[in-house]
Structure formats: C-alpha cells, structure tokens
Symmetry: C2
Subunit: 197 residues, 2 copies
C-alpha cells in the first residue's frame, strides 16, 4: 500500500466549486492533478493506493484505488468527484466516513487526526528540502507520503509532522509541485530505489 | 536546454476547442498536463525548456520558457493558449512560425519535420519500454525527449524515430502517462542521474 496525504490550505469545502475556475477554488487544480499522479498509470489505475486530501483542516476526502471506478485523469473530472464529496459532508459524523461514490468517501477529520491515524498504517514520509536524497534511502514498506499544496505547511502542521514523521526525504535540488513530487515518489518505489526497471 | 516533443494524435487543430471538455478534444487534457510538467517548478518556470506539441501530424505548437509569460499550470489555462495558437495557424506559412503570445508560437510542421529539425539541436531520446533503464544512463547534454499521447506511436512515427533516435530509455517497470514520464525525465536530469540532490 502507498498512501499520499495532500494538504489543501485554501480549498473551499462546500459543493459550489466552480469547475470552470479550479485555480480560483483555492488551487483545487493542483489537488486534482495530485490525485491523478497518485492513482493513474498509462492505461489503468494503480493497485493499492490511497489518497487523502485534507481540505481546510476540517474534512478529508479519500480516494482508494481498490474500489475506484469511472475516474478520469482530467482535472475537471476529479474536481467533480471532490465536489460530490463536499455535497455529502454533513453525513460524515464523528470519524465515520460518508460514502460518495465507489472508492471515494469523506471524513470530518483535520490534518492532525488524519496523519495520526495513518501513522498506525505505515511510516510517515515527509517531503522536505532539508531531507535525505531519495536515491540514498531504501524504499519503505507501506509509506505514507505527506505533501503540501502551493502553500508551505503551517507551523501547527510542522509540529504534527515533527512528532510523527518517520523520515524526511528530498526529491531533488528543485522544489516541485505536489503532483510532480508524487510522480517522482511513485517512480522511486516502482523501481525499488532506482535499481529495478 | 531540455526539449520535449509530445505527439497528439487526435487533438483537433482548429480554435473551436471546448475548454469544458478537454478529454473530448482528442485528450487535450493530457497534452496540457504535459506542458505543465515540462515548464513549471513549484514557484516559477524552468529555465531553458522548449515543448513541441505535434498536433494532427500537421501543426506544431511550441512553448519556450525563455519568453513564456502569464501561463498557469491548470489544464484550462494551457488549453486556452493552444486554442489561441490554432487561431493563428493560417499565418504559419512554410516552416516560418506564427507568433501566438510571448513564448508560444505555431508552425506548419508535421512529426517528421519537427523531429528532424530538433535532431540538429541535441540527441533524440525516445521513451520506450524496451529501452535502457534511466538510472543506467548518463544524462546527455541538450536532450530532446520524444513521447506519445494516450496512443502509441504510429508505424510511420516509429520509422522516423528508428532513423534519428540517439537512444531509447525506460523510466521504470510501469508504463506512465506522458506528463508523468516528463516529470521523471526532469527529475533524472535535475539530479544528474540520481546522484546530485
């Protein structure tokens, strides 16, 4: 299992998302591309991947490739699924998820709760410019990568990560968009740390 | 200089592109994400990158980061720029480009003409599932990566590449979308072949 947590700091959490203006919706375009980078291969969907979009530090929208159906990689299609999730948000009570569509659900969980729960499922890997080079690290089992959107992690999020992060890694000398960093992380895992093609 | 050629087999070459249905426009969404993967860093535009979108084997739309302005990474924004290019296509005469906007122009050039011209500027690197593993290769100077969209290269395109390709490389055991392959190629070059972070 590979899991990716992406923090959307400014995305609205209501279903009135303007599909014609995803950048104006708190850079939802970036979150949509991140979902695509996490779940798609060229002609299909990856096995055993879960994506957790933490939105407005209040709700987490999850995509699980074990059950995902009819999702297309264009931003608008993914955004429509996220909009559907927010339409169900009032059904998410406590930490019980509300179903949205096959493979998609929504939870009333903030960043700390989401990451704390996932830390029990695998090592938390923080992408960080001061981290170890990916190529020097051995790919872990069941990694949970945590990334931020166009904004940096807040101080509070950094504190959470300081407590739970198993390791910090760096994808390269350039700072990449979250979706591109996810692609690099997948490729690193796909190749067993750049050893197996 | 890093250059990327992406072949769009089914994209329309007229300016009536439906911005609300990019997948329906010959999977233009994929070409737009490919442009984004090629030109953007997290908080800016890469230096010395050119993207060549070969559309319908008739026109080539070029993005040059030396002059690119006001481009945003969301698919719709990139698609609008491509639409603007097709609106200028009748001004592209012979192999002279027609200007579209800063850093964007369009040429009346098919795949073979585009690749033949670029082969004089740097080694043609074909992404191919039978190629050498990226990690075993030394990053070349001024590479020109050639990728296909959601369809495979045609027999005619393969013949062109058989003549001009300097090397074939493989990004991993999984077959990736063109935009994801571009991200992997950039990361390989950024890190000097996974050695320099």
């Amino acid at each position: 299992m590979r899991q990716f947590v992406i923090v959307g700091h400014e995305v609205p959490t209501t279903p009135d998302i303007p599909l014609d203006d995803l950048p104006g919706a708190g850079r939802l375009d970036l979150l949509c591309r991140s979902v695509g980078a996490a779940v798609f291969l060229s002609h299909g969907i990856r096995e055993s991947v879960r994506v957790h979009l933490v939105c407005g530090d209040a709700y987490t929208v999850r995509f699980d490739t074990a059950n995902l159906r009819h999702l297309h990689p264009d931003e608008r299609n993914v955004a429509a699924r996220i909009r559907d999730a927010f339409a169900e948000r009032e059904s998410a009570i406590g930490h019980q998820p509300a179903d949205v569509s096959p493979g998609v659900d929504i939870l009333r969980m903030d960043f700390e709760a989401t990451v704390d729960r996932l830390a029990r499922e695998g090592p938390i890997v923080q992408l960080h410019e001061d981290g170890s080079p990916l190529a020097d690290e051995t790919p872990p089992e069941d990694p949970v990568f945590v990334l931020s959107d166009h904004r940096d992690f807040t101080d509070a999020e950094r504190e959470v990560l300081a407590d739970v992060a198993d390791r910090r890694v760096r994808v390269g000398p350039e700072v990449l968009h979250a979706d591109h960093a996810i692609t690099v992380a997948h490729n690193w895992l796909d190749t067993g740390g750049y050893t197996s093609y």
